[in-house]
Symmetry: C2
Subunit: 224 residues, 2 copies
DNA sequence: ACTCTCTTGTGATTCATTTCACATATATTG
DNA sequence: CAATATATGTGAAATGAATCACAAGAGAGT
């Protein structure tokens, strides 16, 4: 991912770096609660099982936030990272598919905390349409495109069966949405200008399965 | 991750390779359903948005499964990958925390399909203990260690609040479990011999947020 | 049997990410 | 205020992963 810097030069920021920013943000929230004023790259690294050099390098892509000899100012750094991640604001999110996973996500408080506000729900099941989930009325999937557009939705979470995911993604894209989080275990096609991320919960279980089968006695595994 | 080969030499297999094996397995299941007898690395790559070379290299770590000029035999390759991943068998899984996420996971059919059988449920809420979810009675978390041991649980899924996750993980480890999938947004400490994977659903949303904020017009993003 | 086409398997190469190591800057202590 | 300790920021080096490119194997057609 390219990021425009102050100099106008586009730097390449890796996916891993961005994911680690999320971790730093999380650690800083705790540090703030513990009334830390500053934190060293060493301490930050320890808390998220990373190396100090990694922390410093990651942050250096976006600026110099620290003070030599002292460390990073906790509340300020947290704010800066939140701004980089774009989670210092509210995002209008729609959730498509109010099944098992979908229902869980509506009630998932972490999303709300991070500024991801689910404001629209969609389903194709007549029994669900019109019902109320956490104060949101479930809309008919038939009106997906217009309702998403009218509500100013910026991010869509897809929690539908794999078989229908592609059709729905197409509609979502037509509605002008440029960011989609997909929970269906299927590879979706989207235009280049649309960001698609997949959340594949079986994958991590399969990784564990692989680990158990292949390493009767564990040596070392990297945590991300 | 190290893997013992037939020669006794331990090869280093990257996390990405293992994740891609999951993708190949998924694609092969569909190809099987479509009655393909063989598939080329090119076709397999196309279906999961990867490159043919990547597919061949990944598979070559584990053996030569293909035929030059022809491709890979679909059902056999699927079986081989399933064996490598350890999903050609049933795993006894316990789920700790029957809240929003937990309830969704009990009903999540993909897990069952992959051989991950949730056979024990735990919670600390008196109203939930004793209740029935999909035919499984929720046990009191107080008995975690003994019940997990007695049931022969091999993998534990943690879907509890971040504040209590560390205590529970400690108990789970004491019970002899060596593979844990954690949904709480917190960095858990486990001994070296225990495999821990984290499923952080906010992270992918944050990635999308970052993408939207930093790339008003998208160029190219790699998919994994 | 020979040629042509297709596609694998893999060493070599390129590209990306992480780690190292140190100059540089700040805080603290006596 | 000098000396010491601490911790950042960052080029350089090392490591790791993805891609390239091609030799070699296998089938099909004549």
């Amino acid at each position: 991912m390219n990021v425009a810097s102050k100099t106008g030069i586009k730097k390449k920021i890796s996916e891993s770096t961005i994911h680690r920013l999320s971790l730093y943000c999380r650690a800083l929230t705790l540090l703030e609660r513990e009334n830390y004023e500053t934190v060293s790259s060493k301490e930050l690294a320890k808390r998220e099982k990373l190396t100090p050099a990694q922390v410093r390098k990651d942050l250096s892509f976006f600026g110099s936030f620290g003070t030599r000899g002292l460390g990073y100012p906790v509340p300020e750094l947290k704010q800066r990272i939140a701004a980089i991640l774009g989670i210092d604001r509210v995002w209008q999110v729609a959730l498509v598919g109010v099944g098992n996973i979908g229902s869980a996500l509506v009630s998932y408080k972490e999303f709300m905390k991070q500024g991801f506000h689910i404001v629209k729900l969609f389903d194709n099941d007549q029994r669900k349409i019109g019902s109320n989930h956490k104060g949101i009325i479930v809309s008919d999937i038939a009106n997906l495109e217009t309702e998403i557009r009218d509500a100013g939705i910026e991010i869509v979470v897809l929690a539908v069966p794999a078989t229908v995911a592609q059709y729905l993604v197409d509609d979502v894209v037509k509605a002008g949405v440029r960011a989609i989080l997909n929970f269906a275990p299927v590879n979706l096609r989207v235009p280049d200008e649309v960001y698609l991320r997949n959340e594949n919960m079986s994958m991590e279980l399969e990784y564990l399965s692989f680990a158990l089968v292949n390493n009767p006695a564990k040596k070392a595994v990297k945590h991300t």
